[in-house]
Symmetry: C2
Subunit: 823 residues, 2 copies
């Protein structure tokens, strides 16, 4: 079907298209209330009979000719022993919903909410032999979809969801001159965003909402087993008093409330599943405190930067995130599955359905399911940027069909690639009609998809008994737990004291000392003339199995992996001094018991860089170190490169090598506009290990690395712990090669001891005081070099007994004296 070639592929609709699509429009008058009460009063006979249509345009015959005398109205079940399986699937399609058009279309850029959308879908149904149309019925029509007449929604029905002001405003459009409409479009004030207007808009919008109602009513009345309403304009963005996002009336919510009212306990609980790629803010608003409407929306959210970002009316922040779960009696009845990224595919949607949506839906146990069926997450839709296939839609439909005794209505929402929506809708309808879903090609969910779904699961586990594990955050708040982070660092400090007599370095700067209290530890010999390894590292990794129900973790099934310690050990064994900086992902504060869901890894970089500068100025530069090795993981790498760029001369002169391990942060370049030497120096003197899972490797320019990114090392591992473990020997080969001359000059270093576990260079460590204090929160007096002590740069007041850098006068290394003025 070539949809670009309009007129050719269109058959009985062709005349309508040519007369309405981009040209003049018939005058339409509305008389909304005339047949309203009857049509919502349980009149089951209006199905299949054109006499029940609410109101016709001024010259209805032009448009209604193909609607009269329908041959494909729903029939009774073909086989009474399979009453559901042998019932027809209903179809709502009315060409008059195409009257809502852009009055002033741009030549090039056709508005995505194109009137041809519904025709493309209907035509695809006909071509697949699923829907009847004059001249195409060579097969037994009893197997076709049963046509259900659309009708105009009544004012009273609209006002189940919207205000009278909103209804009146929509109605008023039909009598406004074109220029007024244009003015209103272009200067919308508070009224709306992403909307175009035409005099036919109220008529099309009324048919769209009425079509959704009649589709659901036909199901509830047992006329059809399920139904697809090919309707437009869409509805799920329309709010109580706002047209918005191509939407005027919230079709699905109106149909929901009409059915709840008409069918009472037979249709008490309605499950609305919104797979439009945008959040259905309107539906969420309409059902937010309703315990009998479960609204689940899967949508691209991008942390609130994807449409609908925010409300025009009240500047309310976007509310499609996972934390909006309903309120009052409706708490827990709003489930947002907000994708952090575009590009989600079948596997991600399937994962969300299996992990969260179906368990919730089954627990909710609806009487009716309505799909807010936008197809803009379909592959080929540029606006959505996702890649759900027709098979993916079929599988979702199939799962939903297990609910509510199979009573399921799909109501079109968005979807702008005519071919994509046609193929997707056909797959949905075939499934509704009993065909099997096609097999899926992609069944492995993406990283971000899994994370997004698990976040929703954790949030919703508060409300749904079938979701596990339960979020432990609530319990924690009540129990005044100690943050494990603090426990582990205290343990680390104790251990590093026990094994290497490392003690905290004093950080005398208000902004740093809070974050890095007890996080900077040094071997006692750090002032001496020996190689120095400075490690800026992430906290250790903890691996655990949680209780699947409660989120409780058993201590004996939990491990802390701290491979950085093996670097410290190897360095100490080889006579190096070590400064170990733990960079916490989060700084504990007294009043702080909540969970920190997201850590902005970049956010702590300035602090880390400042700390490195502080250490450089107050400890490293003042030491006699013969070589300086800077090693960093993630933020550490970032901080090192930033520090190098800020101290390019010092770095080139004094830093022997840098070693970086990167899993989570962007690869940092080292380049200077003022110093051409920096980039080649960095390329020569860096080793940069980038995890295989890092984005870098998927970037195009990663194929031809540049000097500014340093010496990139091949790496097979994805986890930081594994990377550190695997590359340790290589790193130390390099460190030892660099320091070979120095070690050769020393008697007390054994060249062969590198691999020995227990062979510590005893000479390298000054024996600790016989009875040292516990090192944490208690800066123990450290052995002081004979050269004497001094006040650290920038330190105003210094507590007595604090470990302090040695200020060197005579015994300082050559580097000290040649320190560049730029530092």
């Amino acid at each position: 079907m070539d949809l670009d070639d309009s007129g050719d592929a269109f058959m009985d609709d062709a005349e309508v298209i040519s007369s309405t699509e981009h040209t003049g429009l018939p005058t339409i008058t509305l008389g909304g209330s005339s047949t309203g009460p009857a049509s919502t009063g349980g009149n089951g006979n209006n199905l299949g009979s054109s006499s029940s249509k609410a109101v016709s345009p001024a010259n209805p015959d032009v448009f209604d000719q193909h609607l009269t005398g329908l041959k494909d109205a729903p029939r009774p079940p073909k086989f009474r022993n399979l009453p559901y399986a042998s019932l027809q699937t209903g179809l709502v399609y009315d060409v008059r919903m195409r009257f809502h058009v852009e009055l002033f279309p741009e030549e090039v850029d056709v508005h995505p909410e194109d009137p041809r959308r519904i025709y493309a879908i209907f035509e695809a149904f006909v071509e697949a032999g699923l829907a009847w149309r004059d001249g195409v019925s060579d097969l037994d029509p009893s197997y076709y979809m049963g046509r259900i007449d659309a009708r105009q929604v009544t004012e009273e029905e609209v006002r189940l969801v919207h205000t009278k002001v909103h209804f009146d405003w929509v109605q008023s459009l039909s009598t406004k001159p074109a220029d007024d409409l244009r003015e209103e479009e272009q200067h919308p004030g508070n009224k709306m965003d992403s909307i175009y207007l035409s005099p036919a808009t109220p008529y099309s919008a009324a048919l769209s909402a009425g079509g959704a109602i009649e589709a659901c009513r036909a199901i509830m009345l047992g006329k059809v087993k399920n139904a697809f309403a090919v309707i437009r304009p869409p509805g799920h963005h329309a709010e109580r008093e706002d047209a918005k996002g191509f939407c005027f009336y919230d079709n699905v919510s109106i149909a929901t409330k009409v059915c709840q009212r008409e069918f009472g306990s037979l249709c008490r609980k309605v499950f609305i599943l919104d797979w439009d790629v945008h959040h259905g803010n309107g539906i969420q608003q309409a059902s937010y405190n309703d315990p009998n409407v479960l609204y689940v929306s899967l949508h691209v959210h991008k942390k609130g930067t994807f449409y609908p970002e925010s409300s025009y009316r009240d500047n309310r922040p976007p509310y499609g995130d996972h934390l909006h779960c309903g309120e009052g009696a409706g708490l827990g009845m709003n489930v947002n599955v907000p994708w952090t990224a575009q590009g989600m595919g079948d596997a991600d949607y399937l994962y969300a359905f299996q992990q969260v949506i179906m368990p919730i839906a089954q627990e909710f146990d609806p009487d009716l399911v309505i799909i807010a069926a936008g197809f803009d997450a379909a592959e080929g839709d540029m606006l959505g940027g996702c890649k759900v296939t027709p098979a993916g839609y079929a599988h979702m439909t199939h799962m939903l069909m297990s609910l509510a005794n199979g009573r399921i209505a799909a109501c079109l929402e968005g979807g702008y690639n005519l071919d994509s929506i046609a193929r997707s809708a056909t797959a949905v309808v075939k499934t509704m009609m009993g065909e099997q879903p096609d097999r899926l090609v992609n069944t492995t969910p993406s990283r971000t998809g899994i994370d997004d779904v698990k976040l929703v699961l954790r949030q919703q586990s508060k409300f749904w008994g079938s979701l596990h594990p339960k979020d432990p955050a609530g319990r924690v708040a009540n129990l005044h737990g100690e943050r494990m982070h603090d426990i582990v660092r205290k343990w680390q400090a104790t251990t590093l004291w026990d094994e290497y007599h490392m003690t905290p370095l004093f950080i005398n700067r208000e902004s740093l000392s809070r974050s890095f209290e007890n996080q900077v530890l040094a071997t006692a010999n750090y002032t001496e003339a020996r190689p120095m390894l400075v490690i800026l590292h992430d906290p250790p990794e903890m691996l655990a199995s949680v209780d699947p129900r409660t989120g409780k973790v058993e201590l004996h099934n939990t491990w802390v992996t701290d491979p950085v310690k093996t670097y410290t050990a190897a360095a100490v064994r080889n006579g190096f001094s070590v400064i170990d900086v733990n960079m916490p992902k989060h700084v504990t504060e007294e009043t702080d018991t909540g969970e920190h869901e997201e850590v902005n890894v970049g956010g702590r970089v300035p602090e880390a860089t400042e700390l490195l500068q502080y250490l450089w100025d107050n400890y490293i530069m003042l030491s006699d170190a013969t070589h300086i090795f800077l090693m960093g993981t993630n933020i550490g790498h970032w901080a090192i490169t930033l520090w190098i760029k800020a101290n390019e001369d010092a770095a080139i002169e004094y830093v022997t090598k840098t070693v970086s391990f990167i899993t989570d942060v962007a690869l940092q370049a080292c380049r200077s506009h003022t110093n051409d030497l920096l980039s080649p120096w960095y390329a020569k003197n860096s080793q940069v290990y980038v995890a295989r899972s890092h984005n870098w490797w998927s970037l195009e320019f990663s194929q031809r690395p540049k000097k500014k990114f340093g010496k990139l090392m091949e790496n097979e591992e994805s986890g930081m712990s594994e990377m550190l473990q695997v590359h340790k020997d290589t790193v130390f080969e390099m460190l030892l090669a660099e320091t070979a001359a120095w070690r050769a000059s020393r008697d007390d270093i054994d060249e062969d001891e590198m691999t020995g576990q227990d062979a510590v260079d005893e000479g390298a460590i000054v024996a600790p005081a016989a009875s040292g204090l516990p090192p944490v929160k208690n800066f123990a007096p450290s052995p002081v070099k004979p050269g004497g002590s001094s006040t650290p740069t920038g330190a105003g007041v210094r507590s007595p007994g604090l470990l302090s850098p040695t200020q060197v006068t005579g015994s300082f290394s050559a580097r000290q004296r040649t320190r560049s003025p730029g530092m």
Copy 2:
């Protein structure tokens, strides 16, 4: 349908039943190979034609009369545009499979694998109007299930799964005299278990396997959209060379391999879903190393105590646990979902499907799905003891129908309640025919169900990309992690040292010191004349959110809750001495990196009791304590009651009160056959808090508590941390009331200070040495009471500087002197 009233409800089968069920049998001869090759050679025309039947019994006309001229053989699709939906569902049913009967039935106890099983199902299909039978066809037969002829399996087909020895043995049964068969049944040697034999057994078994084959072939050939094979004897317990568990030939595995061979790449991957309540050991064996057969079994396992417990042949342990995942190329292709308990229902099965089975199946993407459809997990089946409803089976079927382009065959396995299997099978068939599944009543999975499924998920996440979180155990083993348990206890010790100057008590007994190293801490004043609180407690609880993909836990999102510390704090504030015993759930050993999945809580009780005895003898009894309060959580409670029973006189004389908190262990009674006073004493002097979630409250006798269980306290909480927190004030009211007189005699205790956080009874704690050593692994010299020091009872060698109990001579309390001889 009254199935007990045989003869009445049976129609055209009635004659057959009366002639075969419990009486004589026709002689049956087998000529297995005659038509075998043809029937597996892709001959699509044999469907619906009785001429294709392999071999008939000696007098075939008697049995075949109702099979000839079938009117309900599969027809072409009714509507070519819905080729799947309008195709028929296939039905295999052959009355001759009822010939396999007990030769020597017991009057009362009919064997559960009753020949009427298949008739009951067939009859239910007919009654539901889904299957055709002479005289009942008042409806258009084109909507019925399409009948597929069963035929005998060939030797060559059998040998795709079984050995020739096994085939020959089965065949030999047809010619053996009844007495020989009885002898073989009763003295089975290595051959089989749970089997009865008759001369017709080989014939019925051959039809059963052949029926499974033809059902699958009809689907693959496109004759039917899916199929239900109502066959017996069942097959999934039959192993390579063993009849077992009512089974002779592994019908499903034979059908699988026949289809793989015949249809090549069109049927390369077969997914066998076994929802029989027993593990399908035969299918697992047949496909264990086959990468193209995914076998998933949901079954009651009860840790290996449920049939099939073990193999007759090789005494192999039962292999239906979650750790059996296939081998070689088939690794990961065997998925056992072993229920720990009976009683599983729809919600548990649904949970397993959503969490594990459907994600795996979709990733596997089969070409054909075969259900090993036993209905012994159905509600009403006494053998299975589970409660899956017909709606539950329908939902599982519906989910499976989304796979393999809807190509799904259900082959009957077990199921022994005739009514249950008839209703369940009908629900399955209706779903296959396109009816909607009924709504589920129970959608909340059980505690054990969730745990079981999560265990499988963790195991299978190694093999399947769509399952998360990944089991961290493998990573841990490689990374040499530190067990968090040790880290936390070290932190606890440091903290208790910092805040209360509590130091480790020396445990000089080999068997105890390993387990309790650093786990026993005491305030320095424990020897003094003041109330003593001894707390035997579980390790602190850790609460965390794990990374949904990797199982990694962020330190800053993890908390340790240690409410026991608040008891210590309150006791210290009120002038008590405290001995704090942490009872690890697992003792870390050097070589120990694996995960400890289950902790037998009872297993550590003897050690805990021994420790309490040791503390009593060496520290508590030798102190001047004015009151002794024993407080225990879980194992601690257990140890305290055991200790009391072993030291009843001492307990009654010296123990002021006991306080117990119980969530996980059985409530322990305190009663003595030699001392009538013990039980009333315990009732009066104990406070026992039992978690609301504890089994105790569901026991009948919990309604009338007895003295021996102590003074049971109402409790609203389920978690240990919450219980400890909620009841702290009550406990201390009691402790303070008991010690009111003592506190009144002391000037330095402030009566009103109990609720103050910082008001520590300074006088109660001896100031620590100015520079104490870190307390852990380093028993610091503790302030020693003026009375001098002594060697603990039972301590052979004592290291200098160890904290030691004070041996009291003159200053000891009256209790010491009146110590009962029984101690």
